[in-house]
Amino acid sequence: MQIAARASDGFTIFDISGDIDLAHSPQMRKALLGEIKEKRIPRVYLNMKNVRYIDSSGIASLVEGLKASRDAGTRLILYSLNNSVREVMQLSRLQKIFEIFDDEAQALAS
Protein backbone atom coordinates (compact mmCIF):
# COMPACT_ATOMS: atom_id res chain seq x y z
CA MET A 1 0.00 0.00 0.00
CA GLN A 2 1.07 3.55 -0.73
CA ILE A 3 -0.59 6.64 0.66
CA ALA A 4 0.13 10.18 -0.49
CA ALA A 5 -1.49 13.40 0.74
CA ARG A 6 -2.58 16.42 -1.30
CA ALA A 7 -3.22 19.19 1.21
CA SER A 8 -5.17 22.35 0.39
CA ASP A 9 -7.12 25.07 2.20
CA GLY A 10 -9.75 23.33 4.31
CA PHE A 11 -9.25 19.84 2.92
CA THR A 12 -6.82 17.01 2.40
CA ILE A 13 -7.00 14.34 -0.30
CA PHE A 14 -5.36 10.99 0.40
CA ASP A 15 -4.49 9.04 -2.74
CA ILE A 16 -4.30 5.43 -1.65
CA SER A 17 -3.07 2.59 -3.82
CA GLY A 18 -2.46 -1.12 -3.45
CA ASP A 19 -3.73 -3.40 -0.70
CA ILE A 20 -5.12 -2.12 2.60
CA ASP A 21 -4.60 -5.32 4.55
CA LEU A 22 -3.43 -6.37 8.02
CA ALA A 23 0.12 -5.31 7.13
CA HIS A 24 -0.84 -1.85 5.96
CA SER A 25 -4.09 -0.67 7.55
CA PRO A 26 -2.23 0.76 10.61
CA GLN A 27 -0.42 3.12 8.25
CA MET A 28 -3.69 4.35 6.75
CA ARG A 29 -5.27 4.63 10.20
CA LYS A 30 -2.41 6.79 11.42
CA ALA A 31 -2.62 9.07 8.39
CA LEU A 32 -6.40 9.43 8.75
CA LEU A 33 -6.44 10.09 12.48
CA GLY A 34 -3.58 12.56 12.18
CA GLU A 35 -5.56 14.63 9.69
CA ILE A 36 -8.91 14.31 11.51
CA LYS A 37 -8.10 14.26 15.22
CA GLU A 38 -4.87 16.21 15.40
CA LYS A 39 -5.07 18.69 12.53
CA ARG A 40 -8.90 18.82 12.55
CA ILE A 41 -9.07 19.28 8.78
CA PRO A 42 -12.72 20.10 7.86
CA ARG A 43 -12.88 17.67 4.91
CA VAL A 44 -10.73 14.59 4.42
CA TYR A 45 -11.11 12.81 1.07
CA LEU A 46 -9.97 9.27 0.34
CA ASN A 47 -9.28 8.58 -3.33
CA MET A 48 -9.74 4.78 -3.50
CA LYS A 49 -9.30 4.49 -7.28
CA ASN A 50 -6.12 2.43 -7.06
CA VAL A 51 -7.03 0.34 -4.02
CA ARG A 52 -6.84 -3.27 -5.18
CA TYR A 53 -7.97 -4.86 -1.92
CA ILE A 54 -9.29 -3.88 1.49
CA ASP A 55 -9.71 -6.29 4.40
CA SER A 56 -11.72 -6.01 7.62
CA SER A 57 -8.82 -4.28 9.41
CA GLY A 58 -8.87 -1.63 6.67
CA ILE A 59 -12.63 -1.26 7.08
CA ALA A 60 -12.11 -0.99 10.86
CA SER A 61 -9.65 1.86 10.30
CA LEU A 62 -12.16 3.65 8.06
CA VAL A 63 -14.84 3.25 10.75
CA GLU A 64 -12.45 4.68 13.33
CA GLY A 65 -11.79 7.60 11.02
CA LEU A 66 -15.52 8.15 10.52
CA LYS A 67 -16.15 8.13 14.26
CA ALA A 68 -13.30 10.58 14.82
CA SER A 69 -14.67 12.90 12.13
CA ARG A 70 -18.14 12.79 13.70
CA ASP A 71 -16.62 13.65 17.07
CA ALA A 72 -14.67 16.49 15.50
CA GLY A 73 -17.66 17.73 13.48
CA THR A 74 -15.72 17.28 10.22
CA ARG A 75 -16.33 15.17 7.09
CA LEU A 76 -14.69 11.99 5.80
CA ILE A 77 -15.49 11.42 2.12
CA LEU A 78 -14.67 8.36 -0.02
CA TYR A 79 -14.65 8.23 -3.82
CA SER A 80 -13.77 6.07 -6.85
CA LEU A 81 -14.38 2.74 -5.17
CA ASN A 82 -13.84 -0.26 -7.45
CA ASN A 83 -16.00 -3.40 -7.35
CA SER A 84 -13.81 -5.12 -4.82
CA VAL A 85 -14.01 -2.26 -2.29
CA ARG A 86 -17.74 -1.75 -2.96
CA GLU A 87 -18.42 -5.41 -2.21
CA VAL A 88 -16.64 -5.17 1.13
CA MET A 89 -18.61 -2.04 2.02
CA GLN A 90 -21.83 -3.89 1.21
CA LEU A 91 -20.80 -7.00 3.14
CA SER A 92 -20.10 -4.74 6.12
CA ARG A 93 -23.39 -2.88 5.53
CA LEU A 94 -21.43 0.36 5.57
CA GLN A 95 -22.23 1.70 2.11
CA LYS A 96 -24.97 3.94 3.58
CA ILE A 97 -22.99 5.01 6.63
CA PHE A 98 -20.09 6.55 4.69
CA GLU A 99 -20.28 9.47 2.28
CA ILE A 100 -19.29 7.78 -0.99
CA PHE A 101 -19.02 9.44 -4.42
CA ASP A 102 -18.32 8.10 -7.90
CA ASP A 103 -15.35 10.34 -8.69
CA GLU A 104 -13.19 13.22 -7.48
CA ALA A 105 -15.24 15.93 -9.23
CA GLN A 106 -18.47 14.82 -7.55
CA ALA A 107 -16.76 14.37 -4.20
CA LEU A 108 -15.19 17.85 -4.24
CA ALA A 109 -18.48 19.43 -5.37
CA SER A 110 -20.45 17.77 -2.55
Binding site: D19, L22, D55, S56, V63, N83, V88, L91, S92
Partner: protein, 175 residues
Protein backbone atom coordinates in the same frame (compact mmCIF):
# COMPACT_ATOMS: atom_id res chain seq x y z
CA UNK B 1 -15.45 -12.54 -40.44
CA UNK B 2 -16.49 -15.50 -38.34
CA UNK B 3 -15.53 -16.13 -34.74
CA UNK B 4 -14.42 -19.55 -33.61
CA UNK B 5 -13.34 -20.20 -30.06
CA UNK B 6 -10.45 -22.60 -29.95
CA UNK B 7 -10.23 -22.78 -26.18
CA UNK B 8 -9.66 -26.30 -24.97
CA UNK B 9 -7.77 -27.85 -22.14
CA UNK B 10 -4.73 -29.62 -23.41
CA UNK B 11 -1.59 -31.18 -22.04
CA UNK B 12 1.82 -30.00 -23.10
CA UNK B 13 3.59 -31.59 -26.03
CA UNK B 14 5.60 -34.51 -24.78
CA UNK B 15 3.77 -34.51 -21.45
CA UNK B 16 1.76 -37.61 -20.68
CA UNK B 17 -1.83 -36.78 -19.77
CA UNK B 18 -2.50 -36.50 -16.05
CA UNK B 19 -2.77 -39.85 -14.37
CA UNK B 20 -5.36 -40.25 -11.68
CA UNK B 21 -3.75 -39.19 -8.41
CA UNK B 22 -5.19 -39.90 -4.99
CA UNK B 23 -5.64 -36.22 -4.13
CA UNK B 24 -6.26 -33.24 -6.33
CA UNK B 25 -3.70 -31.00 -4.69
CA UNK B 26 -3.42 -27.64 -6.41
CA UNK B 27 -0.83 -26.16 -4.11
CA UNK B 28 0.27 -26.15 -0.48
CA UNK B 29 1.77 -23.01 1.05
CA UNK B 30 3.81 -22.69 4.20
CA UNK B 31 4.25 -19.24 5.65
CA UNK B 32 5.12 -17.55 8.92
CA UNK B 33 2.61 -15.54 10.95
CA UNK B 34 3.77 -12.34 9.30
CA UNK B 35 1.18 -9.89 7.91
CA UNK B 36 3.49 -9.12 4.98
CA UNK B 37 3.06 -12.67 3.70
CA UNK B 38 -0.72 -12.33 3.34
CA UNK B 39 -0.38 -10.70 -0.08
CA UNK B 40 1.49 -13.77 -1.35
CA UNK B 41 -1.31 -16.07 -0.28
CA UNK B 42 -3.98 -13.82 -1.78
CA UNK B 43 -2.20 -13.96 -5.16
CA UNK B 44 -1.86 -17.73 -5.05
CA UNK B 45 -5.47 -18.31 -4.07
CA UNK B 46 -6.64 -15.88 -6.74
CA UNK B 47 -4.91 -17.90 -9.44
CA UNK B 48 -6.22 -21.17 -7.99
CA UNK B 49 -9.77 -19.85 -8.36
CA UNK B 50 -9.05 -18.79 -11.95
CA UNK B 51 -7.83 -22.30 -12.69
CA UNK B 52 -11.20 -23.62 -11.53
CA UNK B 53 -13.09 -20.96 -13.55
CA UNK B 54 -14.78 -19.21 -10.66
CA UNK B 55 -16.47 -15.93 -11.53
CA UNK B 56 -14.71 -12.69 -10.57
CA UNK B 57 -17.06 -12.00 -7.68
CA UNK B 58 -16.60 -15.53 -6.36
CA UNK B 59 -12.84 -15.21 -6.75
CA UNK B 60 -12.83 -12.05 -4.66
CA UNK B 61 -15.06 -13.68 -2.05
CA UNK B 62 -12.75 -16.67 -1.71
CA UNK B 63 -9.58 -14.58 -1.59
CA UNK B 64 -11.17 -12.36 1.05
CA UNK B 65 -12.19 -15.35 3.17
CA UNK B 66 -8.72 -16.88 3.14
CA UNK B 67 -7.12 -13.53 3.92
CA UNK B 68 -9.47 -12.82 6.83
CA UNK B 69 -9.03 -16.31 8.22
CA UNK B 70 -5.25 -15.96 8.08
CA UNK B 71 -5.42 -12.54 9.71
CA UNK B 72 -7.41 -14.16 12.53
CA UNK B 73 -4.79 -16.88 12.94
CA UNK B 74 -2.07 -14.24 13.20
CA UNK B 75 -3.99 -11.95 15.56
CA UNK B 76 -5.91 -14.45 17.69
CA UNK B 77 -4.41 -17.95 17.52
CA UNK B 78 -0.83 -16.61 17.58
CA UNK B 79 -1.71 -13.41 19.48
CA UNK B 80 0.23 -11.28 17.02
CA UNK B 81 3.50 -13.13 17.45
CA UNK B 82 5.41 -13.36 14.17
CA UNK B 83 7.56 -16.18 12.78
CA UNK B 84 5.13 -18.99 13.67
CA UNK B 85 4.04 -21.61 11.14
CA UNK B 86 0.84 -21.53 9.08
CA UNK B 87 0.00 -23.98 6.32
CA UNK B 88 -2.54 -23.45 3.55
CA UNK B 89 -3.61 -26.36 1.35
CA UNK B 90 -5.67 -25.78 -1.80
CA UNK B 91 -7.40 -28.76 -3.37
CA UNK B 92 -9.77 -29.19 -6.23
CA UNK B 93 -12.92 -31.10 -5.27
CA UNK B 94 -14.80 -33.12 -7.86
CA UNK B 95 -17.60 -34.42 -5.65
CA UNK B 96 -19.51 -32.83 -2.79
CA UNK B 97 -20.14 -34.52 0.56
CA UNK B 98 -22.99 -36.51 -0.95
CA UNK B 99 -20.88 -37.79 -3.81
CA UNK B 100 -22.57 -35.58 -6.38
CA UNK B 101 -20.26 -34.29 -9.15
CA UNK B 102 -19.23 -30.66 -8.59
CA UNK B 103 -16.26 -28.39 -9.06
CA UNK B 104 -15.11 -26.99 -5.75
CA UNK B 105 -12.13 -25.38 -4.14
CA UNK B 106 -11.20 -26.67 -0.69
CA UNK B 107 -8.88 -24.55 1.39
CA UNK B 108 -7.46 -25.95 4.60
CA UNK B 109 -5.66 -23.61 7.03
CA UNK B 110 -3.57 -25.13 9.81
CA UNK B 111 -1.82 -23.47 12.71
CA UNK B 112 -0.34 -24.48 16.06
CA UNK B 113 -1.69 -21.53 18.05
CA UNK B 114 -4.10 -21.49 20.97
CA UNK B 115 -7.24 -23.47 20.35
CA UNK B 116 -10.17 -21.21 19.68
CA UNK B 117 -13.22 -20.64 21.81
CA UNK B 118 -16.26 -21.74 19.75
CA UNK B 119 -18.44 -19.30 21.68
CA UNK B 120 -16.56 -16.40 20.11
CA UNK B 121 -16.96 -17.69 16.58
CA UNK B 122 -20.38 -16.30 15.79
CA UNK B 123 -19.27 -12.88 14.59
CA UNK B 124 -21.22 -9.85 15.76
CA UNK B 125 -24.34 -7.90 14.85
CA UNK B 126 -23.47 -5.38 12.17
CA UNK B 127 -25.90 -2.75 13.45
CA UNK B 128 -23.34 -1.73 16.03
CA UNK B 129 -21.01 0.77 14.30
CA UNK B 130 -17.62 -0.15 15.70
CA UNK B 131 -14.31 -1.21 14.27
CA UNK B 132 -13.53 -4.93 14.21
CA UNK B 133 -15.55 -8.11 14.30
CA UNK B 134 -16.15 -8.29 10.54
CA UNK B 135 -13.78 -11.06 9.46
CA UNK B 136 -15.89 -14.08 10.38
CA UNK B 137 -18.93 -12.38 8.95
CA UNK B 138 -17.13 -12.06 5.58
CA UNK B 139 -16.13 -15.72 5.71
CA UNK B 140 -19.57 -17.09 6.58
CA UNK B 141 -21.17 -14.91 3.90
CA UNK B 142 -18.74 -16.04 1.20
CA UNK B 143 -17.99 -19.72 1.61
CA UNK B 144 -20.30 -22.72 1.13
CA UNK B 145 -18.72 -24.76 3.93
CA UNK B 146 -16.83 -23.47 6.99
CA UNK B 147 -15.56 -25.90 9.62
CA UNK B 148 -13.28 -25.18 12.54
CA UNK B 149 -11.63 -28.17 14.21
CA UNK B 150 -8.65 -29.11 16.36
CA UNK B 151 -6.63 -32.19 15.33
CA UNK B 152 -3.19 -33.50 16.34
CA UNK B 153 -2.53 -30.34 18.32
CA UNK B 154 -3.34 -28.15 15.36
CA UNK B 155 -6.18 -25.77 14.64
CA UNK B 156 -7.77 -26.51 11.31
CA UNK B 157 -10.12 -24.35 9.34
CA UNK B 158 -11.64 -26.01 6.29
CA UNK B 159 -13.43 -23.80 3.80
CA UNK B 160 -15.10 -24.93 0.59
CA UNK B 161 -16.59 -22.99 -2.29
CA UNK B 162 -18.35 -24.58 -5.25
CA UNK B 163 -18.44 -23.00 -8.71
CA UNK B 164 -22.21 -23.49 -8.69
CA UNK B 165 -23.85 -23.53 -5.26
CA UNK B 166 -23.95 -27.10 -3.99
CA UNK B 167 -27.17 -28.69 -2.80
CA UNK B 168 -25.82 -29.18 0.67
CA UNK B 169 -24.62 -25.91 2.00
CA UNK B 170 -23.29 -26.08 5.52
CA UNK B 171 -23.66 -22.73 7.25
CA UNK B 172 -23.08 -22.12 10.94
CA UNK B 173 -26.24 -21.74 12.98
CA UNK B 174 -27.52 -18.23 13.26
CA UNK B 175 -26.40 -17.18 9.78
Amino acid sequence: MQGTSLTESSTAKGIRPSEPVSSDLLVRLQMHSNPDALCLVRATVERATELLHFHETQTRAIVRSVDEALANVIRHAYKGKSGLPIEITCKKLRVDRNGAPVTGLEILLEDSGVALDPAKLKGRALEDLRPGGLGLHFIYQSMDEVEFSHKNGKNQLRMVKYTVPANTVVKPEGE
